[in-house]
Subunit: 437 residues, 2 copies
Amino acid sequence: MEKRKKIINVGLIGLGTVGTGVARILLKKRRTILQNTGLDFRLKKVCVRHLKKRRPISLKGIEVTDQPKKLTQDASLQQIIELIGGLGPAERIIREALENDKDVISANKALFAERGVGIYQVSKRTRNYIGLEAAVCGGIPVIQGIKEGLASSRIDQFYGILNGTCNYILSQMSKFKTSYQDALEAAQKKGYAEQDPTLDVNGSDTAHKLAILARLAFKLEIDYKAIHCEGIEGITAEDIQYASEMGYSIKLLAIAKRHSAKSIELRVHPALLDGKHLLANIAGVNNGVLIHGDETGEVLFYGKGAGEKPTASAVVSDMISIALLSQSGIMANEAIYGKAKISKISSVESRYYLRFQCANRSGVMGSLTRSLGRQGISLSSVKQPEVQHAKSAPVVILTHKTREDKLRRALKKIQSSKGIKGKPVILRIEGREDSAV
Amino acid sequence: MEKRKKIINVGLIGLGTVGTGVARILLKKRRTILQNTGLDFRLKKVCVRHLKKRRPISLKGIEVTDQPKKLTQDASLQQIIELIGGLGPAERIIREALENDKDVISANKALFAERGVGIYQVSKRTRNYIGLEAAVCGGIPVIQGIKEGLASSRIDQFYGILNGTCNYILSQMSKFKTSYQDALEAAQKKGYAEQDPTLDVNGSDTAHKLAILARLAFKLEIDYKAIHCEGIEGITAEDIQYASEMGYSIKLLAIAKRHSAKSIELRVHPALLDGKHLLANIAGVNNGVLIHGDETGEVLFYGKGAGEKPTASAVVSDMISIALLSQSGIMANEAIYGKAKISKISSVESRYYLRFQCANRSGVMGSLTRSLGRQGISLSSVKQPEVQHAKSAPVVILTHKTREDKLRRALKKIQSSKGIKGKPVILRIEGREDSAV
C-alpha cells in the first residue's frame, strides 16, 4: 500500500558510538525502512570532530566535514541528527538547525532537561519538530507510546527505571551480595559504567530523563533543578539484604505523580520496591517505565535502555515519526500548558525504611520509637537482629506513610541522642500499600 | 507547536461495550485529543442494531441509524470504526467503507485473521488504511510499537500472552491450587470469561491475534488455518503444581519465530515457562508481548488486554495514527512480501514436559525411558513422587530439545505398552535453555 515514496535528506552530527550506529542503520537498512514506512532516508552529510580518524564504517559518497554549519545551513537537508551530547555547542547547533527550518532528532537528555524551555520556544516559532525518543530508554518506544498510544489518556503517574548503569550495579549487589564499590568496578569492566560514573550513580541522568518524560506526559514546563534527586552511592549490601528478607528490591526510581492540573511530584531516589511490583524484576542494564493512564490503566514499556544498537534504532524510529508528522503538518504534540508546580520534597508523603546503629543498652530503642511517635509517625515493622558481644546493633524500622518534614524533625531529635551511632540510613518504600494508617 | 488543526469526521458502527467506550472518549475527550495531537475528531454518525435501545451515553447531535450504508456511503466521513465483530456483515461493511475511500479502524481479530487477505487487497487498491491496534492486546500500543518503534529492526521472534481470560484462569489455578473448572467459573463470575468461553480457552482467540501480529512483524501473508493451536482445557492443578516445583509457570503462549525470509513458525499452546522469564510474571487478565528485534534487542509491551476503557483507548490511538498517516500519504506499513511458509508442528523442535500414570510394578519406568531413548530423545529430569499402596503412580519427565514427530512416535509406542494408564499429559517447555544436548 505504498502510496508514494518520500525522500528525506539527513545530516548527522557526531559519529561516536550511537552516531556510528545510526549511520550503519541508514546505510545498511535503507531498503528495509523504505519498505516498512515508505520513507527513503538519505544520509547526505556527516559532521565529525576529527576528520582523519579511522571509522568502523565506510562513508563513501557522503560528505564528511568538521563544520556543523555546513549541515545546519544546507537547504537540501530536512533532518539534523545531533549526537555530540553536552550543553554548549549542541545547543547552538540545534538552534541553528531549527532556525534553518530543519527538524531535529537528538539523544541529548542533559541539554533538553536543563535548557529545553528555550529550545522549544525556537522550535515553536520556526514550526519544526524535535525528536527525543533516543534520549530516554534507548530502544524502548516510550515517548511514542505516550504521544500516540496514550493520547486519549490523562497520565496520572509513572514510575521508571531509567538508568541501566545504576540498575546493573544494584542487581549485581543483590545477586552476589557484593559491595557498591565492587559492583561499580564490575560494571566498569563490562563497559556498563563510565570511568567517571558520577552522572549515572548520583541520579542526574535519571533526573534528566524524568524531566523529559514529565514534560511530555503532563504537558507542563519542567524546572529540572526542582527535581529532588538522590543517587545510589550510599546503598550497602547490608540494606539490600535486609530489604530482600522483607520481600523488597532496592531500585533507583524516577517517580512522577500528578496532583492537579499543574501541580506535580517529581523525584529520583533509591527505594525499597515491593518484590511483586512489575519494575522490581527488571534486572541488569534493562530499563522499564510503568505508566498509568486514566483510559489505558497500567502500561509497561521494557527493554534495553542503552547500547549502540537500541539507541541508534530509537534515533531512526524518531526520524520516521518526525518525517511522518512533518509531512502531515498537523502535530500539536509539543503543546505545553504552563509551568509545573513541583512539590517540595519536604511535603511529599512516603513510607520509609530506616536503619540505625544503636548502642547495646537499655532505653535506646524506646527513645528512638518515642521520637518517631511524637511526630505522629507510626511504625509498621521493627527489627533488631541478635548481635552477640557487640557494643552496638542495627535496628531496622519500616514506617507507615508520613510527610518527609515530619520524618526529618524526628531524625534530627534522634541523631542528637546519645545511643545512636553515626548517620542513619533513610530509604523510601514504594509499591506496597500501607496495611494500617 | 500546533501547526494547524485538522478535522476528521467519524462514523461508528456498533455500540456495544467498546463502541460505547469509543463514543465516550470522542465526546468527552475531544479537546484533550485536539491538544495532544492537533486532530479534531467529530463523531458524526453512529450505526446500531436496535434504534430504540436505551444507551448509557447521550448521543445528542449525532445521527443514529441502523443502516451501515448511511455511514459507509457518506462522502463527508473520513474514518469508519467497525466494532460489531463477527465475520459476515462486518466484512461487507469494511469492504464498502474502503470502496468509498474511507480509512477503517476495527477491533475484529477473527475477521482479519481469517479473511484479512481479501480485505487488504481492497485497501491496497483503494489506497486506504486499516487500523487494528484494538484487535490485539487492548490498551497496549504493540502494533504501533512494531510499525514505528521497531521499524528499522528485523523482527526475529516474539512471544505473547494475548488472551486475558486464559491468563486469568491459569493464574487462579496456580495461586489457589483450584481446578480448571473452578477457575473458569470464577472468571465467568468476574466477567472475565464469556458464558460460552470456547473461543478463548481453546486458543482460537490467541491464534487470531498471533496471525495479525505475525503478518505485521514478518510482512508476510498468514494462513490462519496453518497455525498450530491448543487450548488450556486440559491443564490440571496437578501439572501446575509439578511445574511450579521445578520453577515453571504454565501459560498459554503465542509463539512466532522467523527461520528465513519467508519460512516461519507460528503456534499457540499452553507451555511450561521458566519462572524467571519476563512473561512468567504476567498475572491475571493482563497481556504482554516480548519482541526481539535485531536492532532493539528484547522489548516488552505489557498492560490490560481487554476491557472497555483500554480497548476503546486503543481504537482512538489508532484513529490518531491513521489520521496522521492518511494526511502524510506516504505510509507503506501494510506492504506484504509474499506468503508465509508456516512450519508443520511435526517438524518443530521443543523441550517437553510429560506426565504418565504408570502401573506400580517393576520394568514400567525402564520401558518408558527406553521408548524415548530409541527416538533419540534425551531426558533432563525424571521424577516419580512416592505414592503408598497405590496401583499406579505419576511419572513426570522433562526432555531435552527434540522434534515433535520423534516424540509422537515414542508416545505411540509408550501408550500401547501395558504399564501406562490413560493418556499422558504433554506440554512444551519454553524460556529455559537446554543444559545439555
